[in-house]
């Protein structure tokens, strides 16, 4: 399963009706993601990057164009895709273990023994041994997000989508979880698509960074990050990528949009 996970996005277009007017959120998105690739998507608020993830996960099925996962068109949510949101979204009445098991409720692919093994493996993968019977209110934000990652991975999906998963965490926890995510990515070989507004995070994690821009939401360019891992954040090469990407967000590039309030500076 881990070898599959090709995402093919073709001529994707998404409109919202707002007060009778049509708002073009995504316009002609074309992106081809290889199995096991780590893609990060950056862009200012309103560029449609979260909408794109909602379309891939299948929570929103109203769109024009095509999204294929291993050749099958995405029509609904499915256990072949996992998602981690910015908030952990755990069920507070369930323990860590039960929360992770919730992901397996409708898994018909695994035997009972395989389910059991998968839960144990993913608790280990995110380093939560000993916390299996803890309730979410007893966990820190970083630990909760790790449970959410385990819950998203427990079905062994082909693609893991992450919507600003570390945005609400402190810098130390964020860096720690970024390394965890890279380790999981190399161990499991899952295709990863992570949305962030943090350019440094995007460079640190990605094989390719997709830069999006708003009005209408579209891909500005795709940048290959040709750096060996681990990537020291203070290296010269890292800084060069950062400067390069920051240009896409600088005022000089499109002053009229900044002045119109259409683009927010990235945090």
């Amino acid at each position: 399963m881990a070898q599959a996970g090709t995402l093919e996005i073709q001529h994707l277009r998404k409109n919202y009706a707002v007060n009778g007017a049509t708002l073009n959120v995504l316009e002609n998105i074309n992106l081809s993601i290889r199995p096991g690739e780590f893609i990060t998507i950056v862009g200012a608020s309103g560029c449609g990057k979260s909408t794109l993830l909602r379309l891939i996960i299948g929570l929103d099925t109203q769109y024009d164009g095509d999204i294929f996962l291993d050749g099958r068109r995405i029509r609904d949510t499915g256990l072949d895709r996992g998602i981690v949101f910015q908030e952990h979204r755990l069920f507070p009445w369930l323990t860590v273990r039960k929360n992770i098991e919730t992901g397996l409720l409708n898994n018909t692919r695994f035997s009972e023994a395989e389910k059991e093994a998968s839960v144990r493996a993913h608790i280990e993968l995110v380093g939560l041994q000993g916390f299996e019977s803890a309730y979410p209110h007893q966990l820190s934000g970083g630990m909760s997000q790790r449970v959410a990652i385990a819950r998203a991975l427990v079905n062994r999906p082909e693609v893991l989508l992450l919507d600003e998963p570390f945005g609400a965490l402190d810098a130390f926890t964020r860096h720690f979880l970024q390394d965890e995510l890279l380790r999981i990515s190399s161990e499991e070989g899952i295709t990863m698509v992570l949305v962030t507004h943090d350019i440094e995070e995007a460079i640190y994690l990605a094989d390719r960074v997709v830069v999006m821009q708003p009005r209408p939401g579209r891909i500005r360019r795709v940048v290959d990050i040709d750096l060996p891992r681990p990537r020291p954040r203070n290296s010269e090469a890292f800084a060069r990528y950062k400067d390069d990407l920051l240009k896409d967000f600088s005022v000089g590039e499109h002053p009229e949009e900044i002045l119109a309030g259409n683009i927010e500076q990235p945090a």
Partner: protein, 264 residues
């Protein structure tokens, strides 16, 4: 009291806050004083000791224990039936916009009618026996449970509903694995209110249908008819005791069920 508790570990009720006794003790002392000094008509207000004697006697009277059990039986039966229907209705209305639009206005209008106003109708349809009383008690329990369950289900966040969709929950899974547990705090609030309403309805129905059946309410009314004020007061006390015991039980069940909330 703290020294006493230290001296006697587990002294009668460990964890019991003895400050709760201040008001009752003060009240009984004042009552005894008022009676002893003769500030009140002793035919209308017996002494505390007189009430205790009446109570002791009544416990061994032939109608007391059957009356207590009768009241409890009707209370619990009505509560269980009304509670189940209340939760089911709340979930159904919370889940379906259509059912909500179709039934909520009517249910809200019906709620404006005092529950006791239904008693004549219920008795003329169902007679005067236990069945009619239990129906009345169930109806009293139903409303707070249904309303709170509805609010609880409506309060389930879009974020959690999306998680259910991502993991492809069936309708049954949605109800039992998300809606009911997420709404549990509100449902239990509703059930606690329902329990209070059920006990009020239990005693109320026995007051209004005093000539039929046997229960604590009947015993109180019979005491009044016999001008036995001591028996009336004892009846009130036992009604209060049973009611607060039921509530204590409910509270304990709640804190056990909602342990996942941590500090609640």
């Amino acid at each position: 009291m703290s020294t006493l508790r230290k001296a006697l570990p587990g002294f009668p009720l460990s964890g019991f806050d003895y400050r709760a006794l201040v008001l009752p003790v003060f009240f009984v002392a004042f009552w005894a004083l008022a009676h002893g000094v003769g500030w009140v008509d002793t035919r209308l207000i017996p002494s505390p000791l007189g009430v205790v004697k009446t109570a002791w006697g009544s416990i061994f009277a032939e109608d007391f224990l059957p009356g207590l059990w009768g009241s409890l039986y009707r209370d619990v039966s009505g509560f269980v039936i009304g509670g189940l229907f209340g939760v089911a209705t709340g979930v159904a209305l919370g889940l379906s916009r259509w059912l909500d639009a179709a039934f909520n206005p009517a249910l809200n209008a019906l709620k404006q009618i005092s529950l006791f106003a239904w008693l004549p109708l219920i008795t003329s349809w169902f007679g005067y026996d236990d069945g009619a009383k239990i129906l009345f008690i169930a109806a009293s329990t139903f409303y707070p449970v249904a309303v709170n369950t509805f609010e609880g289900v409506r309060g389930v966040t879009r974020q959690h509903l999306e998680v259910a969709r991502v993991f492809r929950f069936s309708r049954t899974q949605l109800i039992f694995r998300l809606l009911l547990p997420a709404a549990a705090p509100r449902i239990l609030t509703g059930l606690q209110m329902g329990l209070v309403f059920a006990w009020l309805a239990t005693i109320g129905s026995e007051f209004l249908l005093a000539n039929w059946g046997n229960g604590l309410g009947n015993i109180i009314i019979h005491g009044r008819e016999a001008l036995d004020v001591g028996l009336v007061i004892w009846g009130l006390i036992i009604v209060g005791i049973v009611g607060s015991l039921l509530n204590r039980l409910a509270r304990r069940a709640e804190s056990r069920l909602l342990g996942w909330r941590g500090t609640a």
